[in-house]
Amino acid sequence: MRNVFLFISRYINLLFFLFLQVVALTLLFSYNKFHEAAFMGVANEVSGKVNLRYNNVENYFSLKKDNESLRTQNTRLLNLLKSDFDWPDSILSIVNDTIRIDSLEQYRKYLYLPAKVISTTVNSQNNYVMLHRGSGQGVGVNMAVVGPDGVIGTVVNVSRNMSVVMGMLHRQSKIVAMLKKGSGFGEVIWDGKTPNLVQLIKIPKTVKVSKGDSVVTSQYSDKYPPGHLVGVVEKVEDDKSTSTYVLTLRTATNFYSVQHAYVVRNMQKEELDALEKTIKKDNE
């Protein structure tokens, strides 16, 4: 027993060092795997507050660009308004609508919650975007996040007032997307090399693709509302081993300077999940 104590007191420095290394590595690898180490919730609030202060100053520098981008988005939305479209009156007799309930409201699928971006990174292999909106304001894990220009990512961690978004520039990010002009859907991933350049894989070679084609979110995604711009095709390459393309996209969202975002809540997600669960149960 005495020898054990002697050993410990002699190598206390080494043992302490090894202990701290093990703690650090455990934190690192468990976090990357599950995205939700408990302590990060607390840390979010603290580092989020500091980030928020900094962002309040930083915001002023990009006001002009932000206004520009919001204005383009407004224009696009205004052009979709019903009142923009006019058609010749061809009604023959007036009929009163007898349905009392507004059926549109019941079937709302996506709800957009505005949020301010308080920090973003592009330098590392796993980049995150932080939003000033958390569980207290209706944000939950696994919700989609889009910006005024296009898709940003998925919420992976929420605290009371902040949330952490896994951006497209993340090694584990995977977004179901398709070519805007039609057929073929694939997955958008990031190879970790150049920021703002992501890869679209699994698009079959039978589809005609050319440089400059738009890639949008697919209706098969359970998170993203369909039709949001992911990026524009920059380079077309053949995947030698399979019969699919590897397309390099320039992301629609500029991750260096994104300032505003919308968290998208899928109102029918619970129903969909419950349905999928029964299928799994039936198969067992």
Binding site: N13, F16, L20, L25, F39, S47, S119, Q125, G192
Partner: protein, 177 residues
């Protein structure tokens, strides 16, 4: 100013500079990401107990990790250099001179040559371990090698600039003080 207060201020300043200045610089190349924060550990006083040194290294790295959302990554690298630091100092300097005369490692206290070796060894150790942990996910050896070299060059340049902008007055300690 007491050593403790000075180091607490340094802790905060190094952290803020790393998070809000260096991490915000648009990357020139995928091999280059500027790191300076670990200089805090290299500047800690000579006479700090080794246990405390390791613990401070771990805690400092963890604080940065909170901002970069990589819990453990920088903490692991900082713990490593904080642990190795005392060995290197004993190797580079005769013990009795350093303990009596100066408070912390600097060009003046260690000598130009020794200080450069000290910085070079610990910086490359830090970067190698940091990039290695990052590389485990990427798995491209060229990336590993390139990134270590790239970040090392940039860091050494940053340290050189820091040393030139802030020439720390190394206080000479004699026995009467």
């Amino acid at each position: 100013m007491s050593d403790l207060l000075k180091n607490i201020i340094r802790f905060v300043v190094f952290l803020l500079v790393q998070v809000f200045l260096l991490n915000r610089i648009p990357p020139l190349h995928r091999f280059i990401s500027p790191y300076l924060y670990f200089l805090f550990i290299l500047w800690l006083p000579f006479k700090m107990p080794r246990l405390a040194l390791t613990l401070v290294g771990f805690f400092f790295g963890l604080c940065l990790d909170f901002f970069t959302k990589t819990p453990g990554l920088h903490a692991a690298a900082c713990t490593l250099i904080a642990y190795v630091r005392p060995f290197l100092i004993t190797l580079l300097m005769p013990k009795e001179i350093m303990e009596i005369n100066y408070a912390e490692p600097s060009i003046k206290s260690m000598g130009w040559m020794q200080y450069s070796v000290y910085i070079l060894v610990l910086t490359s150790l830090h970067h190698t371990w940091l990039v290695f942990l990052e590389w485990l996910e990427v798995g491209d050896f060229l990336y590993f090698l390139g990134k270590v070299m790239g970040t090392l060059t940039v860091s050494l340049l940053l340290i050189l600039i820091t040393e030139m902008i802030f020439p720390r007055k190394a206080r000479y300690r004699n026995n009467s003080a």
